[in-house]
């Protein structure tokens, strides 16, 4: 069974990766969370409740869509995508937050906190909190608050308090630190809904468990659609949750190659990227052991990506382990390759992808044209892009959009005078 991967010899350790490097003040809280998660996992009604919640609230099962025009244009293998963009709030993040939300209800806590980079996980958490009647506070790097105003707007409309974190590099990793600090004082009534498969045990396991719904559905759907399993599967890798969710249920399928695509930014030589696997080193930070982009003395480095959701120094310990075991291959896509792939997908198939997800597609397009026409490749369309109109319009450098923003800004200026 693929899910045997969660039965680790040392709890929370995948090979040498993972663990729980947490301040002692949080020990009892983590033990409580582990116990709640373990008990939920062994209760069949919990998974059923989870799946039903996702059906009625988040359009699951999301379909797999065949992309004939793109396949033809690119040449080579036939391209399919898993439509995680159709989830509530437009990304796979909904799977994780609803799962954790159900767990929060079981634990009887009344408040949730979360970190967010792009704002995607923040918005998803805020919808969950609104739906389940929980108080909600979102930590977000100050730089990201500036870059992602639309998401901040929605979080606030949803009743969440958004805190701009100004320390460190004012991005995702700093928001995680801030959320940990909040939790170390507030744990009695608060759950920290971490947004990806990183951080201390049990988060990597728990978030992978919820996200594995993506791969479980995909495996059945692609078999039904094509009569066989895909030859390769691609997903973008920030923290690694959409990749883990898609990959894990295919782990035991020998003929299926799993490919994670990291953010190549301006290119690895430029130093402005978030490629942990070929440029990072093993270290311990943010409560877990994994590959981090760090200097030789273990200080975390600045990262860059056109996609805010991939702009992170660490990566899920399960993926690090699978990387070292040779079970998942990693590549990267640059900002420019991503911009080209966004344009191409929009024009050929009428799908508007998130910049994050497009990394998986860009990695695929580079390789699938070398494959046979009978081959099948699948990528995770982890989120939709129309919600990120400000970022994508900027990335595509659209002059009319720029003009529109100028005009709007003048209108606002006039009306506030």
């Amino acid at each position: 069974m693929w899910s045997d991967i969660f039965q680790t010899e040392k709890p929370g350790y995948y090979g040498q990766f993972g663990g729980m490097f947490i301040p002692e003040i949080l020990r009892a809280t983590f033990e409580e969370l582990i116990a709640a998660f373990e008990s939920a996992k062994t209760d069949p009604s919990f998974w059923m409740e989870y799946v039903q919640t996702m059906q009625s609230y988040s359009c699951r099962p999301t379909p797999i869509t065949y992309l004939p025009n793109l396949s033809k244009k690119n040449g080579g293998a036939q391209i399919y995508c898993k439509r995680e963009d159709l989830n509530q709030t437009g990304a796979h993040k909904a799977n994780n937050v609803m799962g954790q939300g159900l767990l929060v209800k079981r634990m009887g806590k009344s408040r949730v906190i979360a970190e967010t980079g792009a704002g995607q996980h923040g918005v998803a958490t805020a919808t969950m909190a609104a739906r389940f009647g929980l108080e909600c506070k979102i930590y977000m790097g100050a730089l990201d608050v500036e870059r992602q105003r639309p998401n901040v707007f929605w979080m606030e409309q949803l009743g969440a308090e958004v805190v701009a974190v100004t320390e460190g590099s004012s991005t995702l990793k700093d928001a995680i630190n801030a959320a940990m600090r909040d939790w170390s004082a507030s744990m009695d009534d608060t759950h920290y809904a971490l947004g990806t498969v990183c951080g201390p045990h049990p988060f990597p396991t728990m978030v992978s468990y919820f996200q594995s719904l993506i791969g479980q559905e995909s495996r059945e759907q692609i078999l039904e659609l094509t009569g066989k399993l895909p030859d390769r599967i691609y997903a973008c890798v920030g923290g690694g949750s959409n990749a883990s969710g898609l990959f894990l249920p295919f782990l035991e399928d020998k003929g299926v190659e799993l490919v994670g695509v990291e953010a190549g930014g301006h290119g690895i030589e430029s130093g402005a990227h978030a490629v942990r696997f070929s440029s990072g080193h093993i270290g311990v930070a943010q409560g877990y052991k994994t590959y981090f982009l760090q200097n030789p003395e273990g200080q975390m480095m600045h990262t860059h990506s056109i996609a805010a959701g991939l702009d992170y120094v660490g990566v899920g310990p399960i993926l690090s382990h699978l990387h070292d075991e040779g079970k998942v291959r990693f590549s990267s896509a640059t900002d420019q390759e991503v911009i080209d792939a966004v344009r191409l997908l929009i024009r050929t198939e009428g799908l508007i992808p998130a910049l994050e997800s497009t990394h998986g597609l860009a990695g695929l397009l580079r390789e699938s044209r070398e494959m046979d026409e009978e081959d099948i490749v699948l990528f995770n369309l982890s989120g939709r892009g129309d919600k990120d109109i400000f970022n994508i319009a900027e990335a595509l450098d659209d002059p009319k959009w720029r003009e529109f923003i100028h005009q709007k800004s003048n209108e606002y200026r006039r009306s506030s005078n």
């Binding site: 490097f21 320390e167 311990v284 943010q286 273990g298 200080q299 975390m300």
Partner: protein, 260 residues
């Protein structure tokens, strides 16, 4: 493990009602300022000093120390600069020195090198708040070899079984965290803290240090008879930043008076 530090603390406790451990982030505001702080600590007869090795992700620290860590790194403090400073401080001052920092520094250095460099530069031990007991691996043995005390942290949220295993693995003294949260926020000294200290005492006869949020001589007076060591961190840096050197000196003097 190395009983020298414990013995030193016990001897000091014969002369004072409570001991004083202070703290500075190496490289913030500057190495020169750190040095002046240590000089003042010596004048105030401080019993033990924590030298924080800066880290980019200080998850157990509050806003003031987070900023201090960040600025120290910007000031170019690396391992060499840190150990050079520690070595100089060890030669010049009487108080024992402890490294406080985060595990990634020790991990990146390698456990061997971490322990030998600490020993070489005169440290008595170290505190790594994000390194739990079960993750220490060969650090326990290496520390013993180098006569270093890995200082364990006890917290009020610990269940008895964990508290016991931490206390029985303790070395030098036990660092009891006064409350939930991170460094910085003010702690009210109340009977709940005394009860917590009693729970720690039940499992260990090592000296007990209490830290997180202490700031005044009055705090120290109230802790006499309950804790053996009071830890003052944020309050000193705060007064240095807000009121300057003279005020820093008077706070240290006030604290010194309250230890008698």
């Amino acid at each position: 493990m190395s009983g020298k530090l414990t013995e030193y603390l016990r001897n000091r406790l014969k002369e004072k009602k409570i001991l004083l451990m202070t703290h500075t982030v190496v490289g913030y505001p500057s190495l020169e300022d750190n040095w002046r702080m240590l000089q003042e600590m010596q004048l105030a007869n401080v019993d033990m000093v924590e030298l924080q090795m800066p880290f980019s992700e200080p998850i157990a620290d509050g806003p003031l120390f987070v900023k201090a860590n960040q600025e120290a790194l910007k000031n170019g403090i690396d391992w060499n600069a840190y150990f050079e400073f520690m070595g100089r401080a060890h030669e010049k001052f009487d108080f024992p020195l402890l490294l406080i920092g985060y595990y990634n520094s020790a991990f990146a250095m390698g456990h061997h090198s971490f322990c030998s460099r600490l020993a070489e530069h005169g440290a008595s031990g170290y505190l790594l708040p994000d390194l739990p007991l079960e993750e220490m691996g060969d650090l326990q043995d290496l520390s013993r070899e180098h006569q270093l005390n890995p200082i364990m942290l006890c917290t009020p949220t610990h269940k008895d079984t964990r508290l016991e295993s931490i206390c029985t693995n303790g070395s030098g003294f036990l660092y009891c965290v006064a409350r939930k949260g991170v460094t910085g926020a003010v702690t009210k000294i109340d009977p709940i803290i005394f009860e917590f200290l009693k729970r720690c005492r039940k499992y260990s006869d090592l000296p007990l240090a209490l830290g997180f949020g202490l700031s005044t001589g009055e705090d120290l007076k109230q802790l006499q008879g309950h804790a053996d060591i009071a830890v003052i961190g944020t309050a000193l840096l705060k007064i240095w930043e807000e009121k300057g050197y003279e005020a820093y000196r008077s706070l240290l003097q006030e604290l010194a008076v309250a230890t008698a």
